[in-house]
Amino acid sequence: MPRRRRRPKLAVWKFASCDGCQLTLLDCEDELLLMSELFEIAYFLEASSAVVRGPYDLSLVEGSITTAEEVERIHAIRRQSRILVAMGACATAGGIQALRNFVDVEDMKRVVYASPEYVRTLEHSLPASAYVPVDYELPGCPPNKVQVLEFLTAFLQGRRPSIPTHSVCLDCKRQGIVCVMVAEGIPCLGPVTRTGCGALCPRYRRGCYGCFGPMESPNTESLSAWFLIRSGLAPQQLVPLYRSFNAAAPAFVEASQRYADPKSVQKAAESLGTHAFDQREPANGEA
């Protein structure tokens, strides 16, 4: 390949997070050596304590923004980065820690910490995009290694990365996996969840719990109505279903709030037309 004049400078940053996204990078074992040749790894504390000052060509950001210091830091990183990529559910949607967005953070502090007076935190856990312009988002908790590599490859080639935004179902079917929802009555968020994981959970006969966040046109209202009326879930079970790693993604916020009210079941049935939900007993009584 034609030699570049200068290797692009790569930085990997951590905010409020579990380090899983950075581990996904380190998990690219076969490509790591090559990556360190193609990029100048300028800042990646989980991999090396050697630090090169900015500016950076590419910044990968892990974690959500939860404190005033982090707000300042994400702005500083943005100023030093040509391309800034939010990586993972925390950086793209606020992460599991965004569960506090739904309650009073002061109450939460008192429940969790012995000495809450030492904890200084913002009211909400938010994605990087709530504070700075983000050039690209890689979803998932954690993101998928194949997608991370596709992004880095596309960056090096100067082309658009191919990271699809459709449902998990499509990749489930492409692999010939038998749908856990239709064949076993297991509630599955795959139809409203963005693909990228290779339909990992259905492959192991579990329902998707949405760790890649909402897909491009998430119809959570219809799926929830089906869960309530055909899978026999109670409305209060739907709330935690949508409130996990992507709880604060707008489409999932809307979905979880919709069923906070128990009367919503009736409304769901009415709004969706009853012929969709014939009221016969599910065939094996467990669905």
Binding site: V178, P191, N219, L223, H275, D278, P282
Partner: protein
């Protein structure tokens, strides 16, 4: 063609062995992960003896049968499209050497496949794919190669009650009359578990000669006809096809499309399970250094936004427009394009839609025609 024969269960085992002997990979039904799917069969016992299923819109369950029927189930989530129109496939690969690109065509290990258990609807679905990928002006070499070498063993639909399928309406079943190498009709009488075999081709006849069989008695043939007739009389769904394309296209702004859009998830399951939906997208992939690039083809569906990405944005932004594309393609514009419906009435899209959207009901609602399935559902 040769007159019908009868084989027993041992004959079925011998059939599998004879095909393997001829170098075919035998693909047939297997009960796995809560469904009857298609995969490679190595021996008789891989087949789903005593398994059936129960299906409704958005619901499928495998069930133990009371008898030991091998083929006592309606079609499951897989179709033969999986093997004839595989996904993903690497179309070509290019390697950079200095300033030059060397194009390599990947050597396809195009397997010789024998399909055991092709239902009449699916045989017609293969016929639909033939028109699209094989007989038209654009021939897909991957499909053509697999299709031409495929050995097709039909199993006529008998011993189950169809729930979501409607081949009788589409004129695609339940009895397959041509286009196969062999066609079996299972008879599960106690002490006389047997299969009436019709021969549809010279190579079918040649395989039959290799396995133990006897000529069919008139009683065998009558019993087989009776079993298939029972299926025909108990169809789960109906679709009025006369004038349907024009009626759908005259109702493109019908308010019912909005109602469907409220329920449709745009998940693409219907198109993926449909045995005739053939759409794919093509994408280039590179290695990190940009020295190897591959062009990959994979199945795609008209329910994604990227499917109609044109000149900077997707044309079909609403779910309404995407569902309408699917339904009108299957039941209207396909006819203009390829001279048949794009639907053979297999019912898969109804069963495997996670929210049970039923195209027979939706087409009837949109065209304002009598909806004849309600009583059955």
């Amino acid at each position: 063609m040769a007159s019908p024969a009868v084989i027993d269960v041992n004959g079925l085992a011998a059939l599998i062995a004879a095909l393997q002997q001829e170098g075919y990979r035998v693909i047939g039904p297997i009960q796995r992960d809560g469904a009857i799917i298609y995969d490679e069969i190595s021996q008789l016992n891989d087949l789903p003896f005593g398994w059936g299923d129960e299906q409704e819109a958005g619901m499928y369950r495998v069930r133990r049968r009371e008898d030991n029927a091998v083929f006592g189930y309606a079609v499951g989530p897989h179709s033969w499209k999986r093997f004839l129109h595989p996904s993903p496939v690497v179309l070509w690969r290019a390697r950079r050497r200095g300033n030059e690109w060397m194009i390599e065509e990947p050597v396809e290990d195009s397997p010789r496949l024998a399909f055991l258990g092709v239902r009449s609807c699916d045989l017609h679905a293969i016929g639909v794919l033939d028109r699209v990928l094989h007989h038209g002006s654009y021939i897909d070499p991957i499909y053509a190669e697999r299709r031409e070498s495929a050995f097709v063993i039909v199993v006529q639909c008998a011993h189950f009650t169809p729930r979501t399928c409607f081949c009788a309406s589409m004129g695609t079943g339940p009895k397959a009359t041509q286009g196969f190498d062999l066609a079996l009709t299972e008879l599960v009488e106690p002490d006389a578990h047997r299969f009436v075999v019709e021969v549809g081709s010279a190579r079918g006849a040649a395989i039959l000669q290799q396995i133990p069989h006897r000529p069919a008695e008139p009683t065998d043939v009558t019993a087989a006809e009776h079993a298939i007739a029972q299926t025909a009389a108990s169809m789960g769904r109906q679709l009025q096809t006369a004038g349907l394309p024009a009626a759908l296209l005259a109702n493109l702004e019908h308010p019912h499309w909005d109602k469907i859009a409220q329920r449709c998830l745009a998940c693409g399951n219907c198109t993926m399970v449909c045995p005739t939906c053939f759409c794919f997208s093509v994408e280039d992939r590179h290695d990190l250094t940009g020295t190897v690039t591959e062009r990959v083809r994979r199945l795609d569906v008209c329910f994604t936004t990227s499917f109609t990405y044109t000149a900077g944005k997707p044309l079909r932004q609403s779910i309404r427009s995407r569902y309408r594309q699917w339904l009108t393609h299957k039941l209207a514009t396909w006819v203009e394009q390829f001279g048949t419906f794009g639907c053979v009435g297999c019912g898969r899209c109804i069963t495997w839609c996670p929210v049970g959207i039923d195209l027979t009901i939706e087409a009837a609602a949109i065209t304002g025609r009598e909806q004849t399935t309600e009583g059955v559902v």
